[in-house]
């Protein structure tokens, strides 16, 4: 996974919505937000185009400093923030989905975590990545160093 800006291949209006969502989550939930990762088809640049009957959504994972999978008691406030960001960019042609995760990431499927480490684009991080991702990140870097994967 690499720390990078929002991909240039995303249209301007959706990009603005993603940026607003990340900015507002950082501003309002700085005390518990650990990382935000763009993943899925947009991160891999395999997204269905805007002229498709069902263009791809943008998938974000927001990791919070809690062990509660549903991120309670902050959950409602977090979704209120996401909706406030959405309200400022109703012209965005792609929907932006934000999945919430606790820092243990224990309930996530191993394949999902592998894909996240391989294809994800880190948009924000405070401190080091949660252990399940950091371990995969380290493995990926070693394999890249050896030329096993690129």
């Amino acid at each position: 996974m690499k720390m990078a800006p929002i991909p240039a291949w995303l249209d301007e209006a959706t990009s603005a919505l993603v940026e607003e969502t990340v900015r507002m989550l950082i501003k309002r939930h700085a005390n518990i937000l650990l990382a935000m990762i763009l993943f899925g088809s947009v991160a891999r640049h395999e997204e269905r185009p805007l002229d498709d009957s069902c263009p791809s959504d943008v998938d974000l994972l927001a990791i919070f400093d809690t062990t509660d999978r549903l991120v309670k008691p902050y959950r409602e406030d977090i979704f209120a923030t996401i909706i406030d960001a959405c309200a400022l960019h109703l012209d965005a042609p792609r929907e932006v989905n934000v999945l919430l995760s606790d820092r243990t990431m224990q309930t996530w499927d191993a394949m999902f975590l592998d894909n996240l480490a391989r294809d994800g684009i880190l948009l924000y991080a405070r401190g080091s990545l949660p252990a399940p991702l950091a371990a995969r990140q380290s493995l990926q870097e070693r394999l890249e160093d050896k030329g096993v994967i690129r």
Binding site: D57, R69, L70, F79, I82, I83, C86, N97, L99
Partner: protein, 113 residues
């Protein structure tokens, strides 16, 4: 689909949820059905209150915000998180099922009052 048809679909899915509740192994099915029922209740409520609705769930959040239904949009976004976590997670536990049922209750109340 007309408002009454959406209501019938929602009620049918809720009956399926009631039947599934006795079996803990059906948690994913309960969440899926609750999500589906919530979508139909939103369509029913939008037709009742605004004489319009969105006939697909893609883009529904922005559509609801555009109607001024911020709380409803928030509940729907929350529901999408519970459902999608089921796709990427190993299991849907009791707390996820309870969250889905609580959200469904709120959305049904919004639609019918």
């Amino acid at each position: 689909m007309k408002a009454d048809a959406h209501r019938r679909h929602a009620e049918s899915l809720e009956r399926a949820i009631a039947l599934a509740k006795s079996d803990p192994a059906t948690s994913v099915a309960i969440i899926e059905n609750a999500w589906g029922a919530a979508y139909h209740w939103i369509s029913y409520g939008c037709i009742r209150k605004y004489q319009q609705h969105r006939d697909k769930h893609q883009g529904l959040t922005a559509y609801l915000v555009g109607l001024g239904e911020q709380h409803l949009a928030q509940w729907w976004r929350n529901f999408e998180d519970v459902r999608q976590a089921g796709f990427y997670g190993n299991q849907a536990g009791e707390s996820e099922v309870q969250e889905a049922l609580d959200l469904l209750e709120r959305i049904r109340t919004w639609a019918t009052t």
